[in-house]
Symmetry: C2
């Protein structure tokens, strides 16, 4: 196991009606004037935004609203949020929504008290400080509610890039599984896929002797296999939603990813798809994961055989472990298809002729020099073949 | 799943040589004058205490030493520590040792800035504030490095009782697995048993639909089965020690115990054994767990059958699930015996004729009225039978 540090100081309020604690929690963590950041109509339609406002008002906390966050959140709205926060002396950013809203809030929180362009952080600059951020989560997926990460798409060039830092970890996150019961099956399935990808990206490691984190990741994958499928089939099922919600947080706060190298190639290869075609991140991952895994399976057959037997219930083929490894990848893909996820380029409107452009931006964009690295280093030829496997 | 809140803001520095970060971390969390609290000779003999002092000195942090913590830490030394901290205006308590030293440090930290008797907290009073506490852990067992809990034995009457509160959660914990390599197999096994007990006490729940936490607990039990046994058999094995160390923290910071009722009867029944006979807590748990589990198995046969199949590799007996449930308990006990743990009263010098006294203190001490409650409520007759099963 590698040396590491782990710090996850987010306060989680989990359960029914927990959004009514928003005002108290903003106060507890020092907020007095809030940027209330959200996406489209659903948080208004369901009355959630009103309940959160009421909770803020009950504590005498002022707020300014900024809606309009879109999936794959854009830099334009971040610049707008930063301007508002500076002009209005906002001291707390409260995200009401899913991963996109939270990521946009984190970017605003870091950018407001930074002299330069916030995009610097997404080009690798260390985030030293930020306004405090809180969240009221409405979809289990990105894990941004418990993570130090944020992913933003720069409109000029449609680059999708991530930034990270303890300063943008939420001070609190309100997790009410009932808020996710209104999500349609497709969006639920995208979230389930994203959570499973966060687990696989940590599972694929070159670090030896990591039984504890292997077992924890497998535990969460087993949970998603059962409860993720149930949440898609029975959107109203509170218990399934609750299990998925805690699993989604645990999958990405990194308690199960410490002390080991991680992968993230499937995420990087996907980011170009959702940046170019604006497809759901989860939908893109449902295609990139099986392709990447089949492409790299020989790099560590036993690791893929282990997850195949422990999570997917495959019988170990001791004469030919690669067969077991591949069977596990097949079962993962069958599972993703069974919950309604795409498996081919055409399903998300992607085009084979775009592959050279996808590969070029992926391998040469933003300072990369011809390859991406993770579990395996993949050059332009590798990435071309991987995209072709999805056609 | 039940509603819950979860807050685990401890900073973990994990890995080789991490004790050299002690000074920087005390400074980061606001300490300038430290009570350096420890147990016996081993932290001196191994040079650990010297390395920690050097690290404090490098940051210009003053310290006062207080050694002498014993297993099952006593109230007497806590009173002494409180007096020193008050007299010397100490602003940070740094524990260098195992669970006993950490628990004693937490009690001192809470007692120093409390007007009344610190024992009030162990009689149920809420801990509102405390001096900040940091830890340098030397044994994987109690989980106190990441928990809000402390257990102290009151010398007057030998009552062993616990207190809990976010204010006594360590600000940081330094986890260097190499520091545990000097532990002999018996002490290692006691720690492994304690960690497994923290998992079982959470596993035995009356809350339904808790797949995510069930799976996480099973993951950590599977880790202990493999890596715990390996750490006992190969004390010098850094990798086994590292896996056990992270599993021990995760087992007790409650991320795998949220949203569900818990048990803790095995701990309560054990506490009377270690209070009266001063045996190792883990050794006592190795006896109480199998006895309690066999006694209550009919309360939820399927729960015991689940852990038997998922963790202990038993084949499910679909015609008679209780057989599987009992086989799982047998395998747990065989495992504990295999790592050198006791199974009978005589092994720890306990006497059958003491049972009425044990039961009386257990069920009627400190405000209890004839029973203890957890997974199942156990009255004096039940507890008598359970102790008799260990004779």
């Amino acid at each position: 196991m590698d040396n590491f540090s782990f710090y996850s100081p987010t306060y989680f309020a989990f359960g029914k009606d927990s959004e009514n604690q928003a005002g108290q929690l903003v106060k507890r963590f020092g907020g007095s004037k809030v940027l209330l950041h959200f996406g489209g109509g659903s948080v208004i339609r369901t009355g959630l935004l009103d309940r959160v406002k009421k909770s803020l008002e009950a504590e005498g906390i002022a707020y300014i609203e900024l809606g309009g966050v879109k999936p794959n959140p854009r830099s334009g709205l971040v610049y707008q949020g930063i301007e508002i926060c500076r002009k209005e002396n906002v001291d707390f950013v409260l995200a009401v929504g899913g991963g996109s809203t939270i990521d946009s809030s984190k970017a605003i929180a870091a950018g407001t008290i930074y002299d330069g362009d916030f995009w610097d952080f997404y080009m690798g600059k260390r985030i030293e400080k930020a306004l405090p951020v809180g969240t009221v989560l409405t979809i289990s997926a990105a894990g941004s509610e418990g993570s130090p990460d944020s992913v933003i798409t720069k409109e000029d060039g449609m680059f999708k890039r991530g930034a990270s830092g303890d300063a943008i970890r939420p001070k609190f996150s309100i997790l009410n599984p009932a808020l996710t019961q209104t999500l349609p099956p497709y969006q639920t399935a995208c979230g389930v896929t994203d959570i499973m990808a966060h687990l696989y990206e940590r599972y694929l490691t070159n670090t030896k002797e990591v039984e504890v984190t292997d077992r924890l990741i497998e535990a969460l994958l087993l949970t998603m296999k059962k409860e993720g499928a149930r949440a898609v089939a029975e959107p109203d099922n509170y218990e399934a939603r609750a299990n998925v919600m805690w699993a989604g947080m645990m999958a990405h706060n990194n308690s199960c990813g410490v002390g080991r190298s991680q992968d993230w190639n499937s995420h990087n290869i996907e980011h170009e798809l959702s940046a170019l075609y604006d497809c759901a991140h989860g939908a893109g991952l449902a295609m990139t994961m099986p392709a990447v895994f089949r492409y790299v399976v020989k790099h560590d057959v036993m690791r893929f055989a282990q997850v195949a037997t422990r999570v997917w219930g495959c019988q170990m083929n001791f004469a030919d472990p690669e067969k077991t490894a591949l069977e596990g990848i097949d079962r993962l893909q069958q599972f993703l298809i069974s919950i309604g996820m795409p498996s081919k380029f055409a399903d998300i409107g992607a085009k084979e002729e775009d592959i050279p452009k996808l590969v070029d931006v992926l391998c040469n964009g933003d300072g990369r020099t011809g390859s991406i690295s993770g579990f395996v280093t993949l050059n332009e030829e590798d990435c071309t073949k991987i995209y072709q496997m999805m056609v």
